[in-house]
Subunit: 202 residues, 2 copies
């Protein structure tokens, strides 16, 4: 039950209203469950505000997150809230640059092209709420340069909120982000020999 | 990116299929953000499976979680997935026992009556996925007896998944639960003087 009261009043020259409406960069990291799930849960709030929501799913798996995908798409189609665009690397980014000489781009190259699209959308203010799902892995692996990401996020125009999920978020990103939550695993059914099940893991 | 492979095969006499479909009790605790949000994100998966979803919101605030509430209700109304029933203590439980002599029941009494309704629904298998939002507080405060909750959950019939959120989940509940995630705060905008904002906190 958040109290809604800041513990510090910063000396940043902003009014409370300006500060309240400041666009946020949020990071969900750690080895526990709930990083992506909480990000998609936040997207429900954005949808309820009527904001355009853009999801960029930086994973290959087709099965995981299909529940969230179907739900958020269905919400977008109700017309009662914001629009939802779901970009899934597993099905190939629709905007991807294919080079017929070299065949299918590598996972790394697809991921990088996904980031390039995010940059274009941020510049164009395409969405008001972004979920960059599993994006922290790309930074951790060095596929996308963290310093560049921080620079792009810092300079993004308008009122665009961005949530980044994934284990091993680089310290440079954590330092820059406005809100960081570490999801710690206390106990997981897989530790007790239980496999993932529908409705729970996807 | 979960690998989907258990690390242990238990000697419990169950087949993998039986074990896979075992109903789960999940707890999201800790002082960080994302406990409830991740629970509502999970509800998207349950909805996508066509399961009846029951939310019990054990808080008084009307503003918080209105985004998730509107979104999940809208999903339930699409007819494309499961049904959604949202029970909110802030607006009074609809089933509450009123005693005209004593006036409005106390917060504690309302909370306890909410738990009584959860017990009835579990016994009747009303839902397949339950969100008991902020319920851990009630246990921590002693308003509801943790030993009783564990007993009811242990003996619940059928295939009913239950997610309990809130800080300070009692150890007895953590010990019993199948999945426990601790959301740790690394950084929060309120620490930097930022108040909650629409689309983010509600």
């Amino acid at each position: 039950m958040p109290q809604g009261q800041p513990t510090v009043v910063p000396d940043d020259g902003l009014t409370t209203r300006q500060r309240r409406n400041r666009p946020l960069v949020m990071v969900h990291t750690g080895i526990g469950k709930g990083k992506s799930t909480a990000a998609f849960g936040m997207a429900l709030r954005a949808w309820n505000q009527g904001w355009p929501v853009g999801v960029f799913q930086f994973v290959k798996s087709a099965k995981w997150k299909v529940g969230e995908e179907n739900a958020l798409k269905a919400l977008g189609e109700t017309g009662k809230g914001g629009t939802v665009v779901w970009n899934k690397m597993g099905e190939g980014w629709s905007w991807i640059q294919r080079d017929p000489k070299d065949g299918e781009p590598s996972h790394e190259e697809k991921a990088r092209q996904g980031w390039e699209q995010v940059k274009r959308d941020l510049a164009a203010e395409t969405y008001r709420f972004y979920v960059l799902d599993e994006f922290a892995y790309l930074l951790h692996w060095g596929w996308v340069d963290t310093a560049e990401v921080v620079e792009v996020l810092r300079d993004r125009p308008g009122q665009q909120h961005v949530v980044i999920t994934g284990r091993n978020a680089p310290q440079e990103l954590v330092d820059f982000a406005d809100l960081v939550t570490d999801m710690s695993k206390v106990k997981h059914p897989m530790d007790a020999g239980q496999k993932g099940q529908r409705g729970i893991e996807w």
